[in-house]
Point group: C2
Chain length 245, copies 2
């Protein structure tokens, strides 16, 4: 009946951050989900909400994603980057996330660029109130308090909403120029973990916000379409805001 | 007497942009030089100054670097990125510049980031007058005129000199964070073309300017030291400003 390698693999369970029902808005959880899908491993989502540290106490820390690998006696790994490296090391015969040491460092560079080089800061200013509203009512006061302490201003002052789109688009210029020459951050052959990470950021926005982040003639728009359709459409089929596309 | 592969290879001639005597200040020429050195191929420098288009007329365009490959019936290639791709395709058995398709796209992304994500703009504001002064007297009026037309202001107004260092250091944050975890942009095993490109930008500064761009405790400082010492010290041995380090 064929080799059935994928069918024989047990699921990777991922503790994934949920807002409203099926509203998965953590970019880091999305990166882990894309990475597991890239390896062709079945995914089992375990819903997790902020402050449910007891559910992942076994990982000795309080943040998701955490994966539990059913193929390896329930081994757990936390932190999206550590998860990507774990998957690559543990499943070397499945499609590569990095394509070797140079691609591995490159994927981390892309992540660092997104987080500190402008795009993430610009994105948060657009969607911060949407992320707030995506929390269940019991979590909203805590979310507001912790974020306002971090930002030093009220969420409403930090937020610029749709007016922040030009800044976000400008911050994406290096990605735009790359995608003018290659279909993926991972190059000509398909997505790599660098794509998963950035696509995860767009999935955050898709999950919570109706703001249109990209023009249709932007090469990043077409790339986002490809990423949302990839791996059986786990992005496209997620609960989100189609009107934002 | 051994395999002698390197010794048997004929030189790659590189038309390299020169200011004062032996003052090679083009980051793109440096990237090509590092790439040829990475492949273990002998390098023959052909000095070239702005406006000497006749010397490279054979390449049907007017910019350097241009390489001429003595091993391939004098085949020429222009444009630093095209040169890197040519070397990788033509010499696949020598040390890889990219480490595969994912690393290839990654190297171009790093280049796009440096050029459009902040670092290059910040660097030019520091060293523009130094680049001007590096031109031979006959070229200075032309250099000033063309750059002032591009910037829309006098060079002296565009320049911020040493005062621009904090902005440049801030723009390098993604690189800093990457180098906190990996010794090179190319990852754990050694430099890749991504390193060559960024190192070339530092060689531009080294060639023309005495401004200290990096603090000694910055991980980028140590990386720059490694890159200048690499390939037999072609960076360290170049004519430049040791007081800027």
């Amino acid at each position: 009946m064929g080799s059935g390698r994928s069918k024989m693999a047990k699921p990777i369970s991922i503790y994934e951050l949920e807002g409203g029902p099926n509203q998965f808005f953590s970019p880091f959880c999305w990166a882990a989900r894309f990475a597991v899908a890239h390896k062709g491993l079945p995914i089992e989502t375990i819903r997790w909400k902020f402050k449910e540290g007891d559910k992942i106490a076994f990982s000795n820390q309080g943040l998701v994603p955490v994966i539990v690998d059913g193929n390896k006696d329930g081994k757990w790994v936390n932190d999206s980057w550590a998860i990507a490296k774990y998957l690559e090391e543990t499943y070397p015969d499945r499609p590569s996330l990095f394509g070797g040491p140079q691609g591995e460092a490159a994927a981390l560079f892309v992540q660092k660029w997104f987080q500190t080089g402008g795009p993430l800061g610009a994105l948060f200013k657009i969607v911060i109130l949407d992320i707030y509203k995506a929390q269940t009512p019991d979590l909203q006061p805590w979310f507001r308090e912790t974020r306002e302490a971090k930002f030093g201003v009220k969420l409403e002052e930090f937020s610029v909403g749709e007016a922040g789109v030009p800044d976000f688009q400008k911050a994406l210029e290096p990605l735009r120029q790359l995608l003018a020459e290659y279909p993926y951050l991972g190059g000509k052959d398909g997505p790599s973990y660098a794509d998963h990470f950035v696509a995860g950021m767009f999935m955050l926005a898709y999950a919570v916000s109706s703001v249109k982040l990209l023009e249709k003639d932007d090469v990043i728009y077409a790339w986002r379409e490809r990423m949302m359709a990839a791996y059986g459409g786990i992005g496209k089929n997620a609960v989100g805001h189609p009107e934002s596309l």
